[in-house]
């Protein structure tokens, strides 16, 4: 039997376009990056599927990538997203309007145009 892997759980959700996050069983803290234990109280964490909505805290437009696998997705819009679920994540925006990304704009999890194995976002209205 494979050993349970907290990173793989997040990645599996991403592959299905679902935003799986962890919440602390003891203190309800939601760390953005998956972890083995709560970084606040050191207690155990449980998984939940979070609503994919949030806002852009910062963003950048990548004009080059060192990984040729991603070249066809240039320009890549990298964004730090503050999720309504209470955590922050760094991800990429997809969709034809992604270059209009700006700090403060709302985003939602992308269902279309996805190319990463992890959860990606799109500009919301």
């Amino acid at each position: 039997m494979p050993v349970p892997d907290h990173a793989a759980r997040f990645q599996e959700g991403g592959a299905e376009g679902r935003l799986l996050l962890q919440r602390c069983v003891s203190c309800a803290h939601v760390p953005g990056l998956p972890r083995i234990a709560c970084p606040r109280c050191f207690g155990p964490l449980g998984w939940f599927e979070a609503p994919g909505t949030g806002r852009i805290v910062s963003c950048a437009i990548l004009r080059r990538t060192h990984n040729e696998q991603f070249e066809r997705h240039l320009p890549i819009v990298l964004a730090l997203v503050r999720l309504d679920a209470g955590a922050e994540l760094i991800s990429t925006l997809v969709g034809p309007d992604r270059l209009e990304a700006a700090i403060g704009r709302p985003v939602d999890v992308a269902r279309e145009d996805r190319w990463s194995t992890l959860v990606q976002f799109r500009l919301a209205d």
Partner: protein
């Protein structure tokens, strides 16, 4: 160090007090004191012409030669290198034929240069080593460096690499964009870092960039990860840096100008709850660092600040207390950062104009500081430099650099 005196004030007064302190507490049973006596670099290469061990050997050899110290006298070794694993400090000692009583592996990314020199001083004070060589270097090209970043930390491999995230450029573009939005920092203001450091590089034959850079060049350069453009990004290259720290008795025999580490502080994961933090960690210890050194910010003759990106120099100026939070843009505009100016910054050109030799980028500031304090910086010498600040920053992970360190070095004579 336990000497008294009134500290903050003119350098001459402070150093006078230091000498008095030595007389008072220099008798039997006192703590051994460490001195930084030598420095060296290997020739930097844009395209690799030599292997890593050649660079490390060349820097080490030149550093020992400058001090007149034989390899067999070295009994402490510190190493920082991203491209040497699975080799480490002990396998390097074996390779070089060094018998060690003390070893240290730099695991703090670009903060390792400052940290390992601090650890070396501690080891000598504790009697664990008498002669410590601190090395840092790598063999990188732009492509090999970026590939390394895809698995630089567990989080980057798991959660950033699948986004084609653009390496460190992508992450620091997020930092700069946030700083601009919060504080109105402009590209023109940040450009002063790159332009001034290039002027310094033109006086440093060791720097890889030897053509002048204007603010217009900086602003109009090719976009890499907007808002970052070409001259915001360090160029990964090959090279190594070396610093020699020895017991004060041995220091006297080298006849080199002796330097002391007045203070060293470090902070790792300074903001556990922030994914991306504009305070970079330097603010955690800045006041203690200056208090330990018994110097004020105005006493410094130069600062060698870790410069992977101009925005990180700006952040450090704020966090280290040279200006208030959010005001680094205006500070950069109002301050002459040149070698003859108010606050000489990265006097050898820094990583931005010398190239970033991987882990060597975390040591280049220490090496430049030592060279300046020993008054051997040639055309770029800061007149009568007596003390300066060196910072390190690194182990970039998901959203931020995890490690910071700061040191204040000063003449001990």
């Amino acid at each position: 160090m336990g000497h008294d005196g009134d500290g903050v004030g003119g350098n001459a007064a402070t150093i006078g007090a230091r000498e008095l302190g030595n007389v008072v507490c220099g008798g039997a049973g006192s703590v051994s004191e460490a001195r930084i006596v030598s420095y060296a670099s290997s020739p930097y290469e844009k395209e690799p012409e030599h292997e890593l061990l050649w660079h490390l050997w060349t820097a080490a050899q030149r550093c020992l030669e400058r001090a007149g110290i034989e390899k067999r006298d070295v009994n402490g070794l510190a190493l920082t290198s991203f491209s040497y694993p699975p080799g480490n400090v002990v396998t390097l000692a074996e390779h070089f034929g060094m018998r060690l009583t003390w070893g240290e592996q730099g695991v703090f990314g670009g903060a390792s240069g400052v940290v390992t020199v601090g650890r070396a001083v501690d080891a000598i004070r504790a009697g664990r080593a008498r002669c410590v060589l601190c090395l840092a270097g790598d063999v990188f090209t732009v492509a090999s460096h970026d590939s390394m970043l895809d698995s630089f930390t567990p989080a980057m491999g798991d959660y950033l690499a699948p986004h084609g995230f653009g390496g460190a450029n992508g992450l620091f573009a997020l930092v700069e964009q946030r700083h601009r939005a919060l504080y109105g920092t402009t590209r023109e203001q940040l450009g002063r870092v790159a332009v001034t450091q290039r002027e310094h590089a033109l006086l440093n034959p060791g720097a890889l960039f030897q053509t002048p850079l204007t603010l217009e060049d900086y602003l109009a350069a090719r976009p890499i990860a907007e808002p970052l453009r070409l001259f915001d990004c360090v160029m990964p290259c090959s090279g190594a840096e070396a610093v020699l720290v020895v017991h004060e008795d041995l220091a006297a025999a080298t006849r080199r100008p002796p330097l002391e580490l007045r203070a060293m502080r470090e902070a790792h994961n300074a903001h556990p709850e922030l994914l991306m933090s504009l305070p970079g960690g330097f603010e955690q210890y800045a006041n203690e660092l200056f208090a330990d050194a018994r110097l004020g910010r105005g006493d410094l003759d130069f600062v060698q600040l870790y410069d992977d990106y101009p925005i990180m120099v700006a952040v450090q100026l704020e966090c280290s207390g040279f200006c208030e939070e959010g005001t680094s843009g205006a500070y950069l505009e109002a301050t002459d950062l040149s070698i003859h100016g108010d606050l000489p910054l990265n006097t050898g050109g820094g990583q931005l104009s010398c190239g970033q030799s991987g882990a060597g980028g975390g040591m280049i500031g220490v090496v430049e500081a030592v060279q300046q304090l020993q008054h051997e910086a040639g055309a770029r010498q800061v007149a009568d430099a007596r003390c300066g600040l060196v910072s390190g920053f690194g182990l970039v992970s998901y959203g931020k650099g995890l490690c910071t360190a700061g040191a204040i070095l000063a003449r001990a004579d």
